[in-house]
């Protein structure tokens, strides 16, 4: 006979309300873990889309996702000639803000050379860029449709959406759009005629407008990224970052603060959950001190009593946890950021909830163990 289950059945309303409240709290914890995983997955999609082995960037920098990088466009040809390099493609990255049909739209623009590495991984509708100018492939999370025109740049040049991708956003959750490298360079580096005239009047050299942010490199089989990167650094005086390292810069430096922020909130919520479980278990235990004394008097061991209390804590915690998972799963699609609930995180949080339940029952167990069987005989 499971005494814990029967006691909970006896206090069903109190148990149900507490479990729902706990479920909402733990649901937020699950959502936060899911938001972090979603942001991490989103952030890594763009650098992984072209499956590069190396990122060649401005000397002394760590790549376009960690800090600004600006290198000449001919860097791609220099790099292509390094032994072991199978393919290279010049790319730019820039965030732009525009408006479509009166609605503001923020896009992460990647410029690439069609036919070289750096473009969208797969297109789910339409086609890739086929012309040098004013075509765009956009992620469908932008809300753009095929054939729609998007004004970009200082003169609001209309870019036509010719293709759509799925699930391509940057680490901030902004949808990614691809344009030709020429267009991207124009968007990022072109100066307006008044500025150009002012520069000329001041006697300065014209600002370069054909720079790029990085060169993506794919290696021939059998070449180690670290070795080729060393050659590039030594002979071309550039920085070359292996893909794994580039990803780690993104996750460690860009996502880490989000992880800490969310981790802090999760710790607070788990602490609150512990207090709620402890409070409920303690009050349930206080309510049945006489019953505990009676059980002890008729021969129940401390182990039986402790089992009763710990099982109640576990039943409440585990019920609340799965309610939380269910809440979050049901609401995941309504969150503004992607919520990626991974079995690994669920398993980890489940373990944390078990530990929390054990901690929460300590106070009640202490009170119950101190109960003397003689208290059952007291009038």
């Amino acid at each position: 006979m499971n005494l814990a289950f029967r006691d909970i059945r006896h206090n069903a309303l109190r148990f149900a309300l507490t479990s729902v409240g706990l479920g909402l709290l733990l649901g937020i914890v699950v959502a936060m873990a899911g938001i972090y995983e979603g942001a991490l997955d989103d952030a890594l999609r763009l650098p992984r889309a072209s499956h590069p082995d190396l990122w060649v960037v401005q000397p002394g920098t760590k790549g376009p996702f960690a800090e600004p990088s600006r290198i000449p466009r001919d860097t791609r040809d220099l790099v292509r000639r390094i032994p072991g390099v199978a393919a290279a493609g010049a790319v730019t990255f820039e965030s732009v803000q525009t408006a479509v049909q009166g609605k503001p739209l923020r896009l992460d623009i990647e410029g690439y050379e069609p036919g070289r590495i750096g473009g969208p991984e797969s297109i789910i509708a339409g086609h890739g860029i086929t012309e040098s100018h004013y075509q765009m492939v956009a992620d469908r999370s932008s809300g753009l449709r095929l054939g729609e025109r998007v004004p970009l740049g200082p003169y609001h040049d209309p870019y036509t959406v010719v293709g759509l991708t799925r699930g391509m956003v940057n680490s901030a959750g902004d949808p990614v759009a691809w344009v030709s490298l020429l267009d991207a360079q124009s968007l990022q580096f072109a100066v307006t005629p008044p500025l150009q005239r002012r520069e000329q009047a001041s006697g300065r050299a014209p600002l370069p407008t054909a720079d790029i942010n990085a060169v993506l490199v794919r290696l021939q089989p059998g070449f180690a990224p670290e070795a080729v990167a060393q050659d590039i650094v030594r002979w071309k005086h550039l920085s070359a970052v292996p893909q794994r390292e580039e990803e780690s810069y993104l996750t460690v430096f860009v996502i880490e603060k989000m992880q800490r922020q969310l981790g802090m909130f999760m710790a607070i919520l788990i602490t609150v959950s512990t207090v709620i479980i402890a409070l409920l278990i303690y009050t349930l235990t206080m309510d049945k001190l006489r019953s505990i004394a009676t059980l002890k008097l008729v021969g129940a061991s401390d182990r039986t009593i402790i089992g009763l209390i710990v099982q109640e804590a576990l039943i409440i915690g585990v019920t609340g946890f799965w309610l939380g998972v269910a809440f979050t799963s049901a609401l995941a699609s309504h969150f503004p950021r992607r919520v990626l609930i991974l079995p690994r995180d669920i398993g980890l949080l489940f373990g944390v909830v078990i530990v929390v339940c054990l901690l929460a029952s300590v106070l009640a167990v202490h009170a119950a163990v101190k109960v003397e069987p003689a208290q059952a005989l007291a009038g």
Binding site: M1, R6, R9, K288, T294, L295, L297, G299, T304
Partner: protein
Amino acid sequence: MPASAEGPALIELRNISKHYGEGQTRVDALVGVTAAVYPGEIVGLLGPSGSGKTTLLNVIGCVIEPSEGWMMLDRERVYDAQWLRADLRRLRLEKIGFVFQTPNLLPFLNSTENVAAVMELMSVRPREARARALQLLNYLDVGHRGLSMPGQLSGGEAQRVAIARALANAPRIILADEPTAALDSQRAGVVMDLLRRVAIDRRAAIVVVTHDEKIFDRFDRVFHLRDGRLDATAAGGVK
């Protein structure tokens, strides 16, 4: 040995003393109590408040240890040189049934479960425990209330369930603390009839602590306690 009892004593108290505190604050709750209770016998334990009745019941019930003396419970020596404190719980579980002033039923278990819980503490399988619990409830004429929660029972029904629980471990010693105090005289009479039935059917020794004058005539013998001392004329039969 009284006429209604037969066989060796089930409870045999030898020079039991219990005191609290030391020096000037010392209080003697029990002083050299020696007595015996035999199978089939119902003994009343009477005395004014503070005379040591409950303390003696607690000592016999293996709830508190005496300061001096030892006893035999169903042929097992307790509180002597070989006695282990860890045995108290086992003794309570295996040898003693308790009936309280209030039924003290576990509020989250129904009547059958309240009785079966004690059997399960003795490792009886749940299904068998339920069947035996229901038999006991039927024996005490409350079988029809087997699925009722304690809050749904009348005072008399709850006390019958409590007696059934006291019998769940098939004890030969039953200790009752004011079992009729909360009942009217008719229901008190029914409870005493039930205890009598148990004493006869199961050859059990029953000790009842009471102030309830309406049941004084239901005892085979009466032990009077005054200031922790037992009236020697009633202690009877210890050799």
